[in-house]
């Protein structure tokens, strides 16, 4: 187990270093710089050069990268040139909001897709199964920005049940969380159904039934437990997909999370913010992958045994 955690940890650290180079370099070689965005076209000729010198943007990219790494090592993520707020503060406030949104979407995903997927498998070709598959198809087919527009028109504008955008209580979380979770619910639903169906066709299930185990126990305990590994593996993919989609959903719903801040900072070439937030997102993805690997390791006895033997 320790060996497993260590090897994954080293891999994650390497990914993180490579990603930091890619982020820093990518932002610098993208056309235009911070100076092009924050100077007025009317006095651009004078201001761009002045600003690049003041902010060290005229230094080679490699120098800028090492300055960036040195600052991070010292715990200094820098200050936004646009808002003059510390990046740490932006991460703290936006990160909490994104965590709430992502958490709500993840909860929604599992609370809907797992029971529905099991029921669909247990009652194959029933109305529940057909209905679940319809939900899955729609969830995968409708682009999330379009779904957002539909849901806002219906629940905010027409029915007035929920706010159209912004931040506040739980009510403000519902629509963004549903939009964020829609595709994950669809994919997870199909995965759970397929995985449980596969287990239900196995010999040990027939043996359990022959021994008189109740159908509920067979499906919800035995089949589901053995169907878990692929669902857990997909969990890592799903969580990082959710994280990626927050970029879109937060902009649509004017939800002040990290996604919103990242999009804004990249478009404005606010390097300090964009670099730090990109690394936060990358760290999130690396962490979710690690947790998925760990979960898979713990849930799959054969892998565990192989690890112990090795």
């Amino acid at each position: 187990m320790i060996r497993f955690v260590l090897s994954r940890g080293i891999r994650a650290a390497l990914i993180f270093v490579v990603a930091s180079v890619a982020v820093c370099y990518g932002l610098r070689v993208a056309p235009g710089s911070l100076a092009d965005i924050v100077t007025n076209p009317l006095n651009r000729a004078f201001a761009v050069k002045d600003l690049e010198e003041r902010l060290g943007l005229d230094e080679p990219v490699i120098v800028q990268y090492f300055v960036f790494v040195r600052n991070i090592m010292g715990g200094d993520f820098g200050v936004s040139f646009i808002s003059n707020r510390s990046v740490t503060e932006i991460i703290a406030t936006g990160g909490l909001n994104t965590l709430k949104l992502g958490g709500a979407a993840a909860i929604l995903t599992y609370f809907i897709s797992v029971p529905l997927g099991i029921m669909a498998a247990a009652r194959r070709n029933s109305v529940i199964d057909q209905g679940s598959m319809l939900i899955a198809v729609l969830g995968m087919a409708i682009p999330n920005f379009f779904l957002a527009i539909l849901l806002v028109r219906l629940f905010a504008v027409e029915l007035r049940w929920l706010p159209a955008a912004g931040q506040g209580g739980i009510k403000h979380l519902i629509l963004p969380a549903v939009v964020l979770a829609a595709e994950a619910i669809a994919i997870n639903l199909r995965l759970v159904r397929a995985s449980v169906l596969e287990q239900l066709s196995r010999d040990y299930i027939r043996t359990l039934r022959a021994k008189g185990a109740s159908e509920r126990r067979v499906v919800w305990i035995h089949a589901f437990r053995n169907a878990l590994p692929p669902v857990i593996t997909f969990g890592g993919v799903m969580l990082r997909t959710l994280l990626g989609y927050t970029l879109v959903v937060e902009v649509i719903f004017r939800y002040p999370g990290l996604g919103f801040e990242l999009v804004d900072s990249v478009l404005k070439r606010d390097y300090a913010v964009a670099q730090a937030l990109a690394l936060v997102f990358i760290a999130g993805v690396v962490l979710f992958n690690f947790l998925a690997d760990l979960g898979h390791h713990l849930a799959e006895p054969r892998i565990r045994e192989r690890g112990a033997a090795g």
């Binding site: 056309p31 007025n40 646009i82 808002s83 003059n84 902009v251 004017r254």
Partner: protein, 545 residues
């Protein structure tokens, strides 16, 4: 327009505002004064209230109520609220800053921080008397010395430093006045001084704030102070209780603002703007999607105000580049474009075609430009043929914004009809500006937004260079006349000269001016954007509890 007519127009506007005239009466009187129906409609929209306005009045009835938070939906992400070198003047500018002089709804310059101004008889000295008793948010007194200091910053390192070139000295004069000495006559300086990037600030505070100016600190003279600046999510300003009162004649509240605070939120997705005003999550929204405007107009809880934006979409082609530089090519392209179709299809009628470089609601707009550049595809083909071109192909660079891409898709289709193939390359702003200013693309499209349209011609004629824009002799002569005008009459004459020359020579090809649309709830009162300013003032605005 003569002085008498101008005075009559002002009286007419005042009577309409005080509900002593109906809309019909207003339009009839305006017509007598030589004002077109479209301009009269714009003035009516700007005035808001008045006689029998129906669904588009601002509802000035009732006594103003002190307090409340006004929630504004804004159509852009915010930039630093920096009046000296900021990239963009966002809406909170008019809440926290004040300009030296300002345009009234009729376009006449009136007092704000300065109470009077006068050019010397030779036109080489401009004296401005600063109002007494003013102070900054920090409590520091505002004197002519502060204004002189600001003007010196603006003319050396400010956004509009180019426009200040004729000013060779600025110093404090007698009796709380500022004296500007010019190297040549330049009456148009007044136009520059009234723009938002000439807002008065406390230079000592700006120096102390460093990079925090416009984000964490603004020490200016407007009725509100900056509280929160989070560009991606909100900007909040609070009432300044010690505000000495507005010097602007058309602001009726002469004390501190009625509102406790104003909170702006960026609503970047156009379709969401209508949703947010309909659901009440904001009280006012700017620039809803064009296709949503008619729905909003039919909503009894809302007031829709529509003005012409102080802007213009235009296309510029590189005249130094082979076929694009052939005589008549720009004119051919212009004749191939059906501007009214752009207005009807892309903007759903919420725009006006522009055949010259300036929007039609401008006080010195010359309708003579409409004789040029009319839609005539046959003429376009003939012009191309005369230039010896059977076909023409080029790539146009634009900012990657949906409306600009839609305009260009439509224009591209129209050009194809006459044998011109235009490939559109849409890029984000950070990539657009360096290429545009370096003159890299074959052509580019841009939209200027500025309160002094002729100054735009001065500037964009040189972007990326006069060579790129064909060195148009008549237009350049018109710009020279504008830059050396000694009186308002000469300035107006130069403005008209520039417009007509521009329409003929086409250093850039004008397309359309889109509407500036504001939608507010009826519980908001005295919200009065004007046709002559980019943003409204907020000191009169109040909101029902």
């Amino acid at each position: 327009m003569t002085q008498t007519e101008e005075s009559e127009l002002r009286d007419t506007i005042e009577q309409y505002r005080n509900a002593r005239l109906t809309r019909r009466d207003f339009v009839q009187r305006a017509a007598v004064l030589g004002i077109s129906a479209s301009v009269a409609a714009s003035i009516l929209a700007a005035c808001g209230g008045g006689g029998g306005g129906g669904g588009t009045t601002t509802g000035e009835e009732g006594q103003p109520v002190q307090g409340g938070v006004l929630r504004m939906g804004y159509d852009r992400a915010f930039q630093k609220l920096d009046n000296v070198v900021g990239p963009w003047a966002d809406e909170p500018f008019t809440a926290i800053y004040e300009v030296p002089i300002i345009r009234d709804p009729g376009g006449k310059f009136v007092s704000s921080v300065a109470e009077a101004w006068e050019f010397s008889s030779d036109g080489l000295t401009l004296s401005m008397k600063i109002r007494e008793g003013l102070k900054f948010h920090s409590g520091a007194p505002l004197t002519a010395a502060n204004v002189a200091e600001d003007f010196n910053i603006f003319r050396t390192t400010g956004v509009t430093a180019n426009f200040w070139a004729p000013v060779k000295n600025v110093e404090e004069g007698e009796n709380n006045s500022v004296v500007l000495t010019l190297s040549k006559t330049n009456y148009g300086l007044i136009e520059t001084i009234s723009t938002l990037f000439q807002s008065i600030h406390n230079e000592a505070s700006r120096k102390a704030a460093g990079e925090g100016w416009g984000a964490t600190t603004v020490d200016a003279t407007g009725p509100f102070t900056l509280k929160t600046f989070k560009p991606a999510s909100e900007v909040v300003v609070e009432r300044w209780p010690d505000y000495p009162g507005s010097g602007v004649p058309f602001v009726t509240n002469k004390g501190p603002a009625y509102l406790d605070s104003i909170r702006w939120v960026p609503i970047l997705e156009p379709a969401n703007r209508a949703n947010e005003i309909e659901t009440g999550s904001v009280d006012i929204v700017k620039s809803p999607a064009a296709q949503d405007i008619s729905r909003l107009q039919s909503n009894d809880d809302l007031v829709v105000l529509e003005l012409q934006e102080l802007s213009n979409y235009f296309i510029t082609i590189d005249r130094t580049r082979g076929a694009l530089g052939q005589p008549g090519v720009a004119q051919a392209m212009s004749h191939a474009i059906d501007r009214q179709a752009l207005v009807d299809t892309v903007f759903f009628g919420h725009a006006v075609p522009t055949y010259g470089p300036i929007f039609p609601a401008y006080r010195w707009y010359d309708p003579g430009v409409e004789a040029y550049n009319e839609y005539d595809p046959d003429k376009a083909r003939d012009l191309l043929k005369s230039a010896g071109l059977s076909e023409l192909r080029f790539t146009l660079l634009t900012q990657n914004q949906p409306i600009q891409v839609q305009v260009l898709e439509a224009v591209g289709g129209m050009l194809r009809e006459v044998g011109i193939t235009m490939e559109v390359k849409a890029v984000e702003d950070a990539a657009f500006f360096p290429d545009m200013f370096a003159g890299k693309p074959d052509a580019f499209m841009f939209k200027w937004l500025w309160e002094s349209p002729t100054d735009n011609m001065r500037f964009f004629g040189r972007v990326p260079s006069w060579d790129y824009n064909g060195n148009p002799p008549k237009s350049m002569a018109g710009i020279d006349a504008w830059e050396s005008a000694a009186t308002e009459e000469q300035l107006e004459k130069a403005c008209r000269q520039v417009q007509l020359a521009w329409a003929e020579e086409l250093p850039f090809i004008p397309l359309v001016t889109q509407s500036l649309v504001w939608v507010h709830h009826k519980r908001v009162h005295n919200f009065r954007p004007t046709q002559t300013s980019i943003y409204p003032l907020f000191n009169d605005v109040w909101i029902e509890a």
